[in-house]
Amino acid sequence: MKFNRYNKLAIAFISTIFLAACSPLEGEESITAVGSSALQPLVEAAGEQYGSENFGKFINVQGGGSGTGLGQIAADAVDIGNSDIFAEEKSGIDASKLVDHRVAVVGITPIVTPEVGVTDISLENLSKIFTGEITNWKELGGKNLPITVLNRSSGSGTRATFDRWVLTEGSKSIVTQEQESSGTVRQIVASTPGTISYVAFSYVDDTVKALSIDGVKPTDKNVKKNKWIIWSYEHMYTNGEPVGLTKDFLDYILSDEVQNTLIGALGYIPTNQMEFERDAKGMTTEVLKKTEQKSD
């Protein structure tokens, strides 16, 4: 008898927890965004800001990688799927149902250890380094130091973007060291003499040297003008047109308020400041800004 009482108590307790988890309090609403770890800080920051301005609305943000984000949104398991690459570029994803929301742009730059003695490189030579044709910095006018190539893991958005815009058509990167995160990449490049890799602009600091390509410096300004071609969108995909809280939150991220403050502060480039746009096939076209259209 004693046990039964405890039993009932336990069942009541557990079911309370479950019920509490299943049915949120009235007026509360939440959505889940999953995917790209490069986009995660932005969505988290925006979600927090949104939550504090809209009482009772919660944005849950999880990492997991672009593949996870696209897979989950294609399966309609989450509300928003974050990705560094176009859904069309990922195999196994039916992109026809997905609606793309390009919330930001990131520029990616090659970085090297400061003492290699090279500050500028041609796109062709950069490709040759990653395909293993150039193996010593002295071939590029630098020190006599063997080149260590460090890649991001295959399938990462940064790697996909870099490979696409740097490697010459049809060639493949040599099999070499890979690392999972940009932070580790930066640390290894900083500490290992002769290493070259690539990270998003926001990861560049004093410990590593960002190379300019054909005289073009890796700056936000050059990305906006498409002079610096290694850039990609940060996508937030929805399955079908967004509705309700999802739509509200995406509108919020795309609003001038967030685009002009938060996005720049976190090291991304606002989409609305781009003077060029790209499609999934990599076709880049110039966009006429609204202000310019008025003056025309």
């Binding site: 996870t68 696209l70 893991s153 295959s154 099999v175 060291q177 890979e178 999972e180």
Partner: protein, 306 residues
Amino acid sequence: MEDSQKKLAEHSGKSRLEKIGKTISFLCIAFIVFVVLSILYFVASKGIATFTKDGVSLIDFLTGKIWNPGSIGENGKPLTGALPMIAGSFIVTLLAAAVATPFAIGAAIFMTEISPTVGKKILQPVIELLVGIPSVVYGFIGLSVVVPFMRNTFGGSGFGIISAAIVLFVMILPTVTSMSVDTLKSVPRYYREASLALGATRWQTIYKVVLRSATPGLLTAVVFGMARAFGEALAVQMVIGNAALMPTNLITPASTLTSILTMNMGNTVMGTLENNVLWSLALILLVMALFFNILTRWIGKKGAMN
């Protein structure tokens, strides 16, 4: 009379309590078995899909040397050669165990036979502390101490099998040591007494009696250490360099099953070949874990017969 008969016939409170206890413990064990079986089924079904659904041949998978599941090889099949990772995992594990074993057994002998007081007061807590350090800390120390050291000593980038083996050696040392200590402690005292009474020195007693009778236990300890080394992901991933190349020497970047798994899982889409083939790697890990488990049991049984 009737009252006492009734009392005897019906279940007492104590016996009911026992039944309840039995039921609860059975439910717990059933739950654990269910979870284990579910994991086995899940990993196996996903891992086998590479071969059944995507048509990769098992031999290509186990003996192929080129790993690039996203692209197609010359024979029109995806490049899913897992041999570089399998070899990497085994070499790293065996090296780590080979280095750790003498240290661990030496430490265990010191702690049980030579100086039990120091062992108990100083070494035991130190070893317990080592067990508790999270693997990311080991990895980070490896990245900032071992890798630069290897780079300065042998040249190259410093990332490679040797760095991974050193980090793993430190990681499995406490496990193997504490298990060896338990084994040596369980050697009956009268073995030692008899040996000493026959005129054997302390060294002879340790070498010919204590270690001999503890051999199965010591082997179990080493196998446990190997199992841990084989399954370690994070620390290894940070220092091995993660290049899916056949290891040709110990100081160039290589990869293990775990490092490739953790690096790529988030970048693939469920149900695609790229994802399934990672599950196949996980299946190898699972099979190896089972193998290590069976090995320790087998050693235990063999030892018991002597």
